[in-house]
């Protein structure tokens, strides 16, 4: 990753420049952002991503780190402008809010459905090793789509405690998945 130069102003450190290498290194992050935030996929995603990267490369000299803005804030602003222009051209004034269906999602995260099913088996084994209350939290929130308040009521614990449990469960889950290349390519 490119680390921009920094300048000390009024006791604060801020980046003073970005360059082509740094912009190129952000391609995957921008792609994920467009897919996640604007629900783009397929040709739409490719076109908007390409336009965003080109726009960023053409205009990075204008970045002045005003108000201590991070380079990524500058980049996200460019992505927003590009995607809104794209929607205007296509007469789509609002980005799709409906969630992407499972087939598109599998194509985005997994090569095919078989790998998703394998990963489900892997997760089943790993999650079974977690304490029961962690499993309950993961089940209620990430499978049954409960809000935190409802999940806390279901488990008979305070909401604060549920947030704490959820946080711990996620940390344990990440630790369990850490060595697997399907999660960490």
């Amino acid at each position: 990753m490119f680390i921009p130069n920094f300048i000390e102003t009024a006791g604060k450190t801020r980046p003073i420049m970005i360059d082509r290498e740094w912009i190129a290194s952000r391609r995957e992050a921008v792609k994920y952002y467009l897919q996640k935030k604007w629900s783009l996929s397929g040709d739409d995603l490719d076109e908007v991503l390409q336009d965003t990267m080109v726009a960023a490369l053409q205009s990075f000299g204008n970045y002045e780190a005003r108000n201590n803005a991070e380079p990524s804030t500058y980049l996200i602003g460019i992505a927003k402008n590009v995607v809104q222009s794209y929607f205007r051209r296509r007469d789509r004034h609002e980005h799709r809010r409906a969630s992407i269906d499972i087939a598109e999602n599998i194509g985005f995260f997994f090569p095919d459905e078989t790998e998703a099913e394998e990963l489900a088996g892997f997760l089943r084994e790993k999650i079974s090793k977690l304490p029961a209350n962690y499993v309950q939290v993961l089940r209620l929130i990430y499978y049954q789509d409960y809000k935190e308040r409802d999940a806390a009521a279901e488990m008979g614990i305070p909401v604060d405690k549920l947030y704490s449990l959820k946080s711990d469960a996620l940390k344990r889950l990440r630790k369990l998945c850490k060595g697997d290349t399907r999660f960490w390519p």
């Binding site: 990753m1 680390i3 952000r26 995957e28 992050a29 921008v30 994920y32 952002y33 996640k36 935030k37 991070e70 380079p71 990524s72 804030t73 980049l75 996200i76 969630s99 499972i102 999602n105 995260f109 997994f110 998703a116 099913e117 990963l119 489900a120 088996g121 997760l123 089943r124 999650i127 079974s128 304490p131 029961a132 209350n133 499993v135 309950q136 993961l138 089940r139 929130i141 990430y142 499978y143 049954q144 789509d145 488990m155 008979g156 614990i157 305070p158 405690k161 947030y163 704490s164 449990l165 959820k166 946080s167 996620l170 940390k171 889950l173 990440r174 998945c177 399907r182 999660f183 960490w184």
Partner: protein, 275 residues
Amino acid sequence: MSCTYQNRLDYIADYVRGALPENELETFEAHYLGCDECLANIRMMEKAVFTMRHYGANIFAGAPPITWSDRLKIWWDELQLSQQWRSAIPAFATYIVIIGVLSTGYWWLKSSLPAGGFGHKESGEIPAQAANQSLAELQHYDWTPPAPNTTDPELANRLAEIQPIYQAEKYRLAAERLATVVQDFPQSLDARLFLGISQLFLNHNNTNRAIQNLELIIQANPNHAAARWYLAKGYIKENRFDAARQQLTALKKQNDSYFGPQAENLLAQLNNLKQ
């Protein structure tokens, strides 16, 4: 540069499932666009959340319900305690439990054993405490002075001085005085007998001396019933039950009118306790 975003995983998980509040959304998006660590974690979490959402029926099938131990752990985690107390309380609780278990075990063991169960036993015989408390009880033996013409006058005089002391059951003083008499008149069985009896009423060390004196009397006169009876008592006091039984058996055979029935009775008690 490593990521410094606080509670990164919570933000990531909320973001992935579309639950991050609007006011935090753009800040976080701007952050992960420039952070490789967060992007890697987002990808991992996307896969995990997607898999849990769409294959949850399989993943969470048969998930155990929350048990009382889970609830206890939640309650413990909620307590506002310093790290020192968090270490000290379980250690103290463990200490209390260990003490409780040991105490219960001790009292259970003690109550399940017969009285005096922890005392020394001679070849699997009667517990010492039982013997000391019941069988070794001593009765005062009346001392009638011998006829003056059958005894050395000096001996008779000295015994006559000690006899009231003994009869007043001042055994320690009687034993001290009789010890000097025995020193001067070692052949006097009466002096030795009452010395032995007095010593039996005293403490453990004196019991051994009493036994020695009474044994000497038996050696000199095997038919001395009183000496045999108190010798048996001395043996019981010292938990030497086989030796006591031998003396009582011998005493029983002597058909002494006073000590004979008592010997028979005590022997029966000893045998019953042995069984």
